[in-house]
């Protein structure tokens, strides 16, 4: 017998035992109990059907019925049996259905677990992305700040050009300076030469004058002799 039917039967037995104990305790409610037992003694639903079937089967076997009554009784029993089988079939199908539902739910549960773990992984990935993006933003900001400062200073090419121009000017000026110095040297030398020749001429003229005066002094001395 399926589990639910067995369970219900055991519950019914328990109820009957309880009622019996209660009956032992108070005698005044005898009628009520008896009536209850009579009405409810067979159980409810399927239980009742099986009990009734058993009882009617016993009756049918042990008592003398006329053939029509016996046959009708037999028919009644067969229908009752058919009803019992039908209900058993129904409960079996329900049981199968429950099993399948369980499997379905297990599958859905496994799916959800998987999607949870993948969501966790995605979250971790995104967190790493955020960190990277923050670092990149920080670097960009620092770069911008420095670029602003650098922009304030004049352009390198311009200063280089200025420097080149200044260099050229400097070279030209030094060239001119050299030329002037050379000229100065030359003039100095020329003047030096001029002055020395003048001095020599002066010397020779003085020498000549001296020699002349010596000559005239000597000749009167010679004439006096």
């Amino acid at each position: 017998m399926p589990l639910c039917v067995r369970a219900r039967m055991s519950i019914k037995f328990f109820q009957i035992v309880q009622l019996a104990y209660w009956r032992m305790g108070s005698i005044t409610d005898d009628e009520v109990i008896r009536k209850r037992l009579l009405i409810d003694g067979d159980g409810a639903g399927d239980d009742r059907r099986i009990n009734v079937l058993m009882k009617s089967f016993n009756k049918w076997c042990h008592s003398n019925f006329s053939p029509e009554e016996g046959f009708s009784q037999y028919q009644r029993m067969v229908t009752s049996l058919a009803q019992c089988e039908f209900s058993m079939g129904k409960t079996l199908l329900v049981y199968d259905m429950n099993l399948k539902e369980m499997e379905n739910y297990e599958a859905i549960y496994a799916d959800i677990e998987k999607s949870i773990t993948s969501a966790h992984e995605k979250i971790a990935e995104c967190k790493k992305e955020i960190q990277r993006a923050k670092r990149i933003r920080k670097n960009r900001q620092e770069y911008d700040a420095l670029a602003r400062v650098i922009k304030q200073h004049p352009d390198r090419h311009e200063t280089l050009k200025q420097l080149e121009a200044l260099d050229k000017e400097l070279q030209q000026l030094s060239h001119i300076k050299e030329n002037v110095e050379d000229k100065l040297e030359l003039r100095k030398k020329q003047f030096h030469v001029l002055l020395t020749t003048i001095q020599e001429l002066q010397q020779t003229l003085e020498n000549d004058e001296k020699m002349e005066s010596d000559d005239t002094q000597e000749s009167p001395v010679e004439n006096g002799d």
Partner: protein, 328 residues
């Protein structure tokens, strides 16, 4: 702690524990409160978890600066530096301070207040700047003051350390940011921030003065603000690159990923981009903010906390909005 005292309380400093699960905050009454972040951030947090797990009086005067080493919490206020063990604080035991040192004073009349403390991890020394216009460097293991950096003409507000080059930056009331080399203890640069302007936007705001109250560095870049507007500087070229058009003086600023976050006058935290634009201003409960701290040591409790002229400290779990407030 009556309602009047709560009304007049200001939070001046904050520090996270080395494990990142606790926050210590110091106020103007000299008290330090330790809050448990794991309790406050857990899903079943209640009103009680937003109160401190431990509240003790650390100094006679206000606690201007807090600093966490690997094992200790250092607090400084009017002249004395006290060290408290984090292990004891976490166990909710009212601690006795394990070491109590004061800066060397030239005259014994006044002990200057200490406004900023940072740790130089390269040689494990504590750099302290305060009211006597000098920066004192103390060796952490022996507790002896190694050297003094003199140069500022007025008291020092803030200190910062550049890891890569091992340089100390200090900003003071005289409006100058001085850069010192930590190995040779000599000044390297001096920038008078209020003299500069960027794109014809003058940094100087004459109604506020020229004092520098916040400094932050990110290797090549430096943020400084205070009386002059908050500005971003490129340190290699010593030139200012952007000025942030924030109303009010900024008291603390930090670099975080691609943003600059700063707090100051005004009940909001400003998010700015390096280019000089203010991206967002997130409102918070105190009417003006003094301190901002980011808990980056612990990935579970990655929060930003701000405190200011209120007994409440706002906690931001997502930096775009205020999640809840801890209160003294």
């Amino acid at each position: 702690m009556g309602p009047v005292e709560l009304l007049h309380m200001s939070v001046f400093s904050q520090s996270f524990s080395p494990c990142g699960r606790f926050l210590a905050a110091g106020n103007n009454y000299g008290e330090i409160a330790v809050f448990s972040l794991s309790a406050a951030l857990s899903p079943d947090a209640s009103e009680g978890s937003q109160k401190p797990i431990l509240n003790f009086t650390a100094h006679d005067g206000p606690v201007f600066t807090l600093l966490s080493t690997d094992t200790h919490l250092l607090s400084a206020g009017n002249g004395e530096i006290r060290a408290w063990s984090w292990a004891e604080l976490i166990k909710k035991v009212s601690p006795i301070n394990s070491r109590n040192t004061s800066t060397q004073v030239l005259t014994s009349l006044e002990i200057p207040e200490i406004n900023a403390m940072i740790i130089n991890p390269k040689d494990n020394s504590l750099v302290v700047g305060g009211g006597d216009n000098n920066i004192h460097i103390m060796d952490m293991e022996t507790g002896i003051f190694k050297s003094v950096l003199k140069g500022h003409t007025d008291y020092i507000h803030c200190l910062c350390f550049k890891e890569r080059e091992g340089e100390i930056l200090s900003g003071g009331e005289d409006g100058a940011v001085r850069i010192w080399d930590s190995r040779t203890n000599r000044p390297v640069h001096c920038i008078e921030v209020f003299r500069y302007e960027v794109k014809q936007i003058r940094m100087r705001m004459p109604q506020f003065g020229k004092w520098i109250s916040c400094l932050a560095t990110d290797s090549d870049w430096m943020l400084c603000g205070g009386g002059p507007s908050l500005s971003l500087w490129h340190l290699r070229s010593m030139s200012p690159t952007s000025v942030f058009p924030l109303p009010g003086c900024q008291r603390e600023a930090v670099f975080h990923q691609d943003l600059i976050m700063s707090v100051g006058e005004g009940p909001y935290v400003s998010h700015c981009l390096h280019g000089g634009t203010v991206k967002a201003q997130i409102p918070c409960t105190p009417s003006s903010l003094n301190t901002l701290a980011l808990n980056l040591k612990n990935t579970e409790h990655r929060v930003m906390t701000v405190g200011g002229s209120s007994h409440q400290i706002d906690v931001f779990t997502n930096f775009s909005y205020r999640a809840f407030s801890l209160s003294f």
